[in-house]
């Protein structure tokens, strides 16, 4: 959807939505490199269902901003073949939930060709896709699924939480010689037609802005509890941290930003200081990110933990449609708050 947004303030102080920051990165890279192009469903005249390509068609024309049929296997495969021949496609899968119709191209081809070729063939491409729930879109349009991608080797997996990182990670993803899966949460895009957190429109550096893939960031330093999280949940965690701060509970919020590579050192460093670990993950609970983060700590040294590690994630249930049910399973601030309190009171 493409309702109008307030235009950004002065350039120095300008704030952008995450969507616009993504578009800015793509646009700058397209100007810089003729081999970069975009393809996907409704990326042209519509500008991307979640505004991830708004304005690019006008700027670059239909040869470089290409609407596709609803044939994800064919057009993701097209991106792969073009990348193999040295182009740098950005291909959009409208919702990550649709991976099931095209996963073979993604994980058996995009992710493995470089390895199978002994490094002789590079596949420099970005697979951009929307994730996340919270607006009652039901079980087939609300998932995060980053754990599924991160489990399968050969693709980098990045997940920004804010406009500046979205720009910087997109720039890195486009320039990376590897396939990069770029998962953007609808709730951080700053869309005018969806409830959004206040940080989804924020300062974004002008010009070239690169955020290296594989480095977590400390979204908030703290000393009592380490909250390891990513994407929209970063904001819930920050909100909870601010709320608990007056009570003397000082949460550190680690924004992973990248699952593959995973910044294990950043996690270990923080948990080493706080001794308490909470993983907040909007993906499904089991066999995914939250377990991995805990394992990375415990296979190094379980004694850094003063008590049990905790997880707030979607408890292995498809995302329900009805709002009271959906908000019962999402990692909401109230669930995060409760988990933090249990950790510090344990």
């Amino acid at each position: 959807m493409t309702l109008t947004e307030p235009s950004p303030a002065t350039r120095a102080q300008r704030k952008l939505s995450t969507a616009k920051a993504m578009v800015e990165a793509i646009s700058q890279e397209m100007e810089r490199d003729q081999d970069v192009f975009v393809l996907g469903e409704d990326v042209g005249a519509y500008g991307g269902i979640f505004s991830s390509t708004t304005g690019l068609l006008d700027k670059f024309g239909p040869e470089r901003i290409i609407d596709t049929p609803i044939s994800e296997t064919a057009f993701i495969g097209t991106a792969i073949g073009a990348a193999v021949e040295g182009m740098r496609p950005i291909v959009e899968l409208m919702f990550v939930d649709f991976f099931g119709v095209c996963m073979d191209q993604i994980y058996n081809h995009m992710a493995k060709i470089h390895f199978e070729s002994g490094g002789n063939v590079k596949v420099p491409m970005v697979l951009a896709t929307a994730v996340g729930g919270g607006y009652s879109d039901g079980a087939q349009h609300s998932q995060c699924l980053w754990g599924t991608f991160a489990h399968l080797p050969g693709m980098k997996v990045v997940v920004p939480s804010n406009p500046a990182d979205a720009k910087g990670l997109m720039t890195s993803a486009i320039r990376d010689d590897n396939p990069v899966v770029f998962l953007f949460h609808k709730g951080i895009m700053g869309l005018p037609w969806m409830a959004k957190n206040r940080r989804s429109i924020d300062h974004v550096p002008d010009g070239e802005h690169v955020v290296p893939i594989g480095e977590a960031s400390v979204a908030r330093p703290g000393s009592d509890v380490t909250i390891v999280t990513l994407s929209l949940s970063v904001h819930h965690a920050l909100d909870v941290a601010e709320e608990l701060s007056p009570q003397g509970i000082d949460c550190e919020v680690i924004d992973l930003r990248s699952l593959v590579p995973l910044d294990t050192e950043a996690i270990l460093e923080s948990v080493g200081r706080t001794g308490r670990l909470l993983v907040v993950d909007e993906d499904y609970l089991s066999f995914g990110l939250s377990g991995e983060v805990i394992a990375r700590v415990v296979e190094r040294d379980p004694t850094v933990l003063r008590g049990p590690a905790a997880r707030v994630a979607v408890p292995d249930v498809p995302i329900p449609y009805a709002r009271p049910l959906e908000y019962a399973v999402l990692p909401t601030p109230s669930r995060i708050r409760q988990a933090v309190l249990e950790l510090v009171n344990a």
Binding site: S136, Q140, M194, A195, P320, Y321, A322, R323, L325
Partner: protein, 326 residues
């Protein structure tokens, strides 16, 4: 066609349109002043079917609730035409415990075992399960059929091809319907599909293929009748494409700025056209038109009322129904 049959088609079409208008109203009722997709009594994506009534009405007139229908992300017209309980369906759309899915599914995930109706939000992926329903029907010695629906955009998805081949190979009692409403969200048919008629693709499966060009419910009725008869007789599947009309946006909130044809759209509305035809043929007059409208309104508003009256699911039950208990 007999006057009564024509009247029945009209009734179904009016019921569908009345339903969609009511959902439209309820959907937007509490999303102002700034549209927020997740807000209100009916949140989430909403794909309405206004303009496509002829397809559902024409096809489902040949079915009983023992036959199966698998529909798409735009499922209401087929659900209504196939006889899904309006109250339970509406309650589901409102996310209530009395809904078809007890509020778990929502408007793209309507499952009604009573009428063997289902739908899916994933493009073309409603076709394959229809094959299995057809297989089960045949194995049990019945002449029941499965109708599987997609849009013209979906006809370029792999599942379409695989399903047609399998159904043709096994001569399954399936009728494949393609609703060509010219658009797949913002992508015009010309930018998604390399042929102007999906009927030509039927030859690639050695099955009958037809395209109905004018969104005429009677033409749909006739062509679908042949296909369903054929399927019931064990002669295998058919493919029918109907050139229909997306009267409104892809989903609610769609600005449709990409849509060049928008101005001409209201004039192509199949409902007034069909109504005029039936008036001219003496099948309808002012009183009967009013009666049909009133009846439809009553049923639809009762369903809306039922939904609104029904309780929302308890958060404590959020983990139920992942698995069936032994």
């Amino acid at each position: 066609m007999q006057p009564q049959d024509r009247l029945d088609l009209y009734r179904t079409m009016v019921l569908i349109r009345t339903y969609e208008e009511a959902i439209l109203r309820e959907y937007h009722a509490d999303k102002k002043p700034v549209f927020d997709i997740g807000a209100g009594l009916v949140p989430g994506e909403m794909h309405l079917s206004a303009g496509q009534e002829p397809v559902a009405a024409g096809v489902c007139a040949h079915l009983t609730t023992d036959d199966a229908v698998t529909a798409t992300h735009r499922p209401h017209h087929f659900a209504v035409a196939h006889g899904v309980d309006l109250e339970k369906m509406t309650a589901e759309i409102f996310g209530r415990v009395t809904g078809l899915g007890k509020g778990r599914g929502g408007h793209m995930h309507l499952f009604d075992p009573a009428t063997h109706f289902s739908c899916s939000g994933i493009i073309a992926e409603g076709y394959p399960p229809a094959l299995g329903q057809a297989l089960a029907f045949r194995r049990r010695g019945s002449d029941r059929v499965a109708v599987a629906v997609t849009g013209e955009g979906a006809a370029n998805q792999g599942a379409f091809h695989e399903s047609l081949n399998l159904a043709a190979l096994w001569k399954l009692p399936v009728v494949f319907i393609v609703e060509d409403n010219d658009w797949g969200i913002s992508v015009p048919r010309s930018a998604s599909t390399c042929v102007t008629s999906n009927a030509v693709r039927a030859a690639g499966y050695g099955i009958p293929g037809a395209r109905v060009e004018d969104n005429s419910v009677e033409a749909v009725h006739e062509v679908a009748g042949e296909a369903i008869t054929r399927a019931r007789a064990g002669e295998g599947p058919s493919l029918i494409e109907v050139h229909t009309l997306r009267l409104w946006g892809h989903f609610e909130g769609d600005p449709q700025s990409y849509r060049s044809d928008l101005e001409g759209v209201p004039g192509k509305d199949p409902l007034p056209t069909f109504e005029q035809e039936l008036r001219a043929a003496g099948v309808l007059d002012d009183p009967s038109v009013s009666a049909v409208a009133a009846q439809a309104r009553d049923r639809v508003e009762a369903a809306i009322e039922f939904a609104k009256r029904s309780p929302e699911p308890e958060p404590a039950t959020a983990l139920d129904f992942v698995f069936a208990s032994a």
